[in-house]
């Protein structure tokens, strides 16, 4: 499909599995019922221990996490069920709709098709981690153009737009239509306007 975000296949190819036996900070055993599930494992307090074989380390929104469960579990369900970062949505499970789009090492990827093994050693950015002190210009543009109808696909749309604008700061028609994320509500005309507005916001802020 045209404009599909960086495919998982490619990520497998150049995936760097974290080196075993590396001494790193590690925290308590991961459970799916943590009281505050989105809290990263603290890098400060726990003792430095050897990483268990089979433990996968990855960065999510700038913080380290460790996964000791099924390495074939897609990143989508780790984000949602384990970390409760529910901004990333399930839409199709086969990388056809883009509702689960996140950034992996800065590039758009489908979390539903990215096994934890392939995410290991990488930096993941979800919609929750996009803003800094203020909203990301793409988020800002999404509000200003009032893009949302039901809103369910919009986190994925926003992540796809962030990816596009990183590659193409001044996107042309073919760049916009290369985005394959589906919107069942049909908000495409406003998505287009919002991407162009975000490009403008980024340009003016860089001036």
């Amino acid at each position: 499909m045209n404009g599909k975000p960086a495919s998982v296949q490619r990520m497998h190819d150049d995936a760097t599995i974290p080196p075993r036996n590396t001494l790193i900070a590690i925290a308590t055993e991961e459970t799916s019922m943590q009281d505050d599930p989105a809290t990263p494992e603290s890098a400060a307090s726990p003792a430095e221990v050897a990483l268990d074989p089979g433990t996968l380390q990855l960065g999510i929104n700038g913080k380290p996490y460790f996964h000791r469960g099924d390495p074939s579990m897609p990143l989508l369900w780790y984000l949602r069920d384990t970390l409760r970062l529910t901004g990333t949505k399930y839409g199709c499970g086969i990388g056809a709709c883009g509702a689960c789009t996140v950034l992996i090492d800065g590039k758009a990827a489908h979390a539903c098709e990215t096994p934890m093994l392939a995410a290991a050693g990488r930096q993941v950015t979800t919609i929750e981690g996009l803003q800094g002190e203020v909203l990301h210009p793409v988020q800002q543009a999404w509000i200003e153009e009032d893009v949302v109808n039901c809103g369910f696909c919009q986190a994925g749309q926003i992540m796809a737009a962030v990816d596009l604008l990183q590659r193409k700061p001044a996107p042309v028609e073919s760049d916009l239509t290369a985005i394959g994320n589906l919107c069942r509500c049909g908000s495409y005309p406003r998505i287009r306007r919002a991407i162009l507005r975000a490009a403008e916001l980024i340009r003016t802020s860089n001036r």
Binding site: I143, C150, L182, P189, I191
Partner: protein, 752 residues
């Protein structure tokens, strides 16, 4: 909510539905359910003045949104109505979603917030009356409080921007008055509503109120909720229509790490109503979603086929044509004048048949439900469209009275009519009862596409007789379709044709001789309403046929439509609405649409224009497209949508609904169909149910709303029905190929 106010001194706007269905707005002592508060507001000093309004001492206002927000914008538009009459600045308003407000009045079911279902045609008309009155009544309390403080007659006081203002210029903030207001006796008579000339919120472009939470990923949709100690479930459903589970080897599934239990779900017998689970299935209950999915993948089931093992779209189509050919067994839906006589006298007779497919709703957020059933109560958190139905189902299945069921109404990832059925709630109840824990059921996309209540399949046979002046004298519309009314207890008493034909739809009242006949096509496919259930089912046939008549008689399609609409007048009994069908309003949207697309200008660029109009639930719509063929690709250069919805509450929201409806219309018209073969649905996921991607969508949809002071109507379904015929008419203008079967693209590529 706090503030140390004595609960007993509060008076609450008491809203409930009386037996006749009319809304009672009055003040009673009934303890209204407190508004749920956004976390950032908890601890603030808020006073509740009505089920819909909280006011803080610093004059911030919290307004409760009562509707099910599925993307139609009611979380913004409904609170706007309250805020307008309350007379506060929208910038000071914070909106919070209300839960389901079930109450019983003398044993009769009611709702403290009024209508909370979103059925596509009642939401705005009801809210327009009730919520403005609720806002006005709350404002009256604040005025009465100020009158007491100043010892002035209330009649001498006015309000502006969240303040009560005296004639001498003194002002008091609502926030200052809130506690006094909460202790006052309630006004008994409805308050006078604002003169529309004074509106400062209604009619102003207003952005989605919770957009910030959505773009930052903070909004919790139904599927985003979790409960302590909960389990996760997915269900493998029988792939054949009405089939049953014969046996299942669960051994591998039970070995999947994280799988807790496997539960069998009974299907429905072939003649039972589809009010519970839609299909027989096997639920896998696990510690997380992925384990449940993996467990499901490891199941080895053996299914027995249901009573429709032969069912296929090809057979349905053949049977529909055979029924229409035979012409017997039809049920008369409506007739006027003397159609047989008109046939004998006709100078010209025209006939054409049009086929429309099953369609799936495919909301972006698949169905699902999180439910906790306790000894004496239950909690449901799910993306819903009909919480009344969910409440009834849970009560029936658990034996718990409806008054102890808490139902939260998170934002839904679309619905399009899918969530008018609560089969997924019934499934969740079964799984939760079996596991004795809170359970979140998730439908995978494959479940959603292959197990839906589909928009009916049908063949429309249209015939027209023309007199010597080429005027349309007679009109025959015969439809053979799988009735929408099937195995549904809620509408079992409705006529079988309802949902596929309308007695008073266009051109009833506009031609001298008319007959509408329905032929029921038996099918095992579950059916129900899709977007704009009725108009989107027949507008393609009716509005294409008018173009065919125009072509056959060498007339302009716009002129022919205007001629058929005739003199400006109101026809009684407009379909699906209490209002009359106004030929002048229909003619106006058509004329404006023709003007915007530059209908009359001669083209030399090979682009073709197509136009169509339709009446949907009280609203008038016309669509026009300018298209061109680029090889095998259809390029939409311009899309114009003109509507008359009465007064526009939120222009930005209305535009969003019509852009969305138009694109949904394009998506379904060009590419979408659900087909059945050997008793099973053939599509599984988006690759074979190809929603329109951005690349195929027009860059813009030019939306124009006719200025009007009439009462507003719902707009969420409005933008769909006239799209398919306008596109088909544009394809004819561009290629001279007349397509009479949806979806258009496969037919076009076959015929080019």
């Amino acid at each position: 909510m706090s503030g140390g106010v004595d609960e007993s001194r509060r008076r609450f706007l008491h809203v409930g539905l009386c037996a006749s269905g009319a809304l009672l707005v009055g003040f009673g002592h009934a303890r209204a359910q407190s508004l749920p508060l956004a976390p950032e507001l908890i601890g603030d000093d808020l006073t509740q003045l009505s089920p819909f309004v909280l006011i803080e001492r610093d004059n911030r206002v919290v307004i409760g949104a009562r509707g099910c927000e599925t993307g139609q914008g009611v979380i913004t538009s409904l609170p706007m109505l309250i805020a307008e009459e309350l007379d506060v600045d929208w910038s000071r308003v914070r909106v919070t979603q209300l839960p389901y407000g079930y109450i019983e009045n003398n044993g009769q079911p009611g709702n403290r917030y009024g209508n909370q279902s979103s059925d596509g045609h009642r939401t705005i008309p009801l809210a327009w009356k009730e919520l403005r009155e609720a806002g006005a009544a709350t404002r009256a309390l604040l005025v009465a409080a100020a009158a007491r403080v100043w010892s002035l007659p209330a009649a001498e006081l006015q309000t502006a921007s969240g303040h009560v203002v005296a004639a001498d210029g003194r002002r008091l903030r609502y926030g200052t008055l809130a506690r006094t207001a909460a202790s006052l006796p309630a006004p008994v008579t409805p308050r006078a509503l604002k003169d529309p000339d004074a509106f400062h919120i209604i009619g102003k472009p207003t952005r989605t109120t919770d957009a910030h939470n959505i773009v930052t990923g903070r909004t919790r949709y139904g599927s985003d909720e979790y409960l302590s100690g909960m389990l996760f479930a997915v269900i493998l459903r029988c792939p054949t229509l009405g089939g049953a589970l014969e046996s299942c080897d669960e051994s591998a599934a039970r070995k999947v790490v994280g799988v807790r239990d496997i539960v069998r779900i009974e299907g429905n017998s072939a003649d039972a109503a589809l009010d519970g689970p839609l299909a027989a299935g096997i639920a896998v209950i696990a510690d997380n979603t992925w384990a449940a999915i993996e467990g499901r993948r490891a199941l080895v089931p053996a299914w027995t086929p249901g009573p429709w093992p032969e069912e296929s779209t090809a057979l349905l189509s053949a049977r529909a044509h055979a029924l229409l050919d035979a012409g017997t067994d039809g049920i008369s839906v409506h007739s006027e004048g003397d159609m047989p006589g008109s046939r004998r006298r006709a100078r010209l007779k025209l006939n054409a048949r049009y086929e429309v497919p099953f369609l799936a709703h495919a909301p972006m957020e698949t169905p699902g439900a999180l439910i906790e059933i306790r000894q004496d109560s239950a909690l449901l958190i799910a993306s819903l469209q009909d919480p009344d139905g969910a409440s009834r189902i849970i009560s029936e299945m658990t034996g718990l009275p409806r008054t102890v069921l808490e139902i939260r109404l998170p934002r839904s990832g679309g619905s399009f009519g899918r969530r008018l059925r609560n089969d997924f709630v019934a499934e969740a109840v079964l799984v939760a009862k079996a596991s004795a824990k809170p359970v979140k059921l998730l439908w995978l996309r494959e479940d959603d596409i292959a197990h839906d209540f589909y928009r009916p399949f049908g063949v429309h046979a249209l015939a027209a007789t023309l007199d010597r002046n080429n005027r349309v004298a007679g009109w025959s519309h015969r439809c053979a379709a799988t009735p929408r009314n099937n195995r549904n207890a809620a509408i079992a008493d409705d006529p079988i044709w309802k949902g596929c034909m309308q007695p008073d739809d266009f051109p009833t009242g506009l031609v001298a001789h008319l007959e509408k006949t329905f032929f029921a096509l038996e099918s095992g496919m579950p059916r129900d309403g899709w977007q704009a259930p009725m108009p989107a089912f027949d507008a393609f046939a009716v509005q294409c046929f008018i173009d065919e008549i125009a072509f056959a008689t060498r007339r302009d399609p716009v002129q022919l439509r205007l001629e058929m609409l005739g003199e400006p007048r109101e026809l009684a009994n407009a379909p699906d609405a209490s209002t009359a069908f106004d030929t002048a309003r229909m003619a106006q949207v058509l004329r404006v649409c023709a003007e915007k697309i530059r209908w009359s200008s001669r083209r030399t660029d090979g682009h073709g224009l197509g136009i169509a109009c339709h009446y949907t639930s009280g609203g008038y719509v016309a669509h026009a497209f300018e298209i061109a063929m680029q090889g095998e690709k259809l390029k939409i250069h311009r899309a114009v949508c003109v509507v008359d919805v009465g007064r526009v509450i939120n222009p930005l929201g209305l535009e969003a609904q019509l852009i969305g409806g138009t694109i949904d219309g394009i998506s379904s018209a060009l590419n979408l169909a659900i087909t059945v073969k050997d008793g099973r649905v053939q599509q599984r996921n988006f690759p074979d149910y190809r929603l329109l991607p951005m690349a195929q969508a027009p860059a813009a949809v030019e939306v124009h709303a006719i200025e009007s002071s009439r009462d507003p109507v719902d707009a969420d379904e409005l933008g769909i029905a006239s799209v398919a015929p306008a596109l088909a008419n544009a394809i004819f203008a561009t290629t001279t190929v007349r397509i009479r079967k949806l979806p258009l693209m496969p037919e076009l590529l076959r015929m080019l």
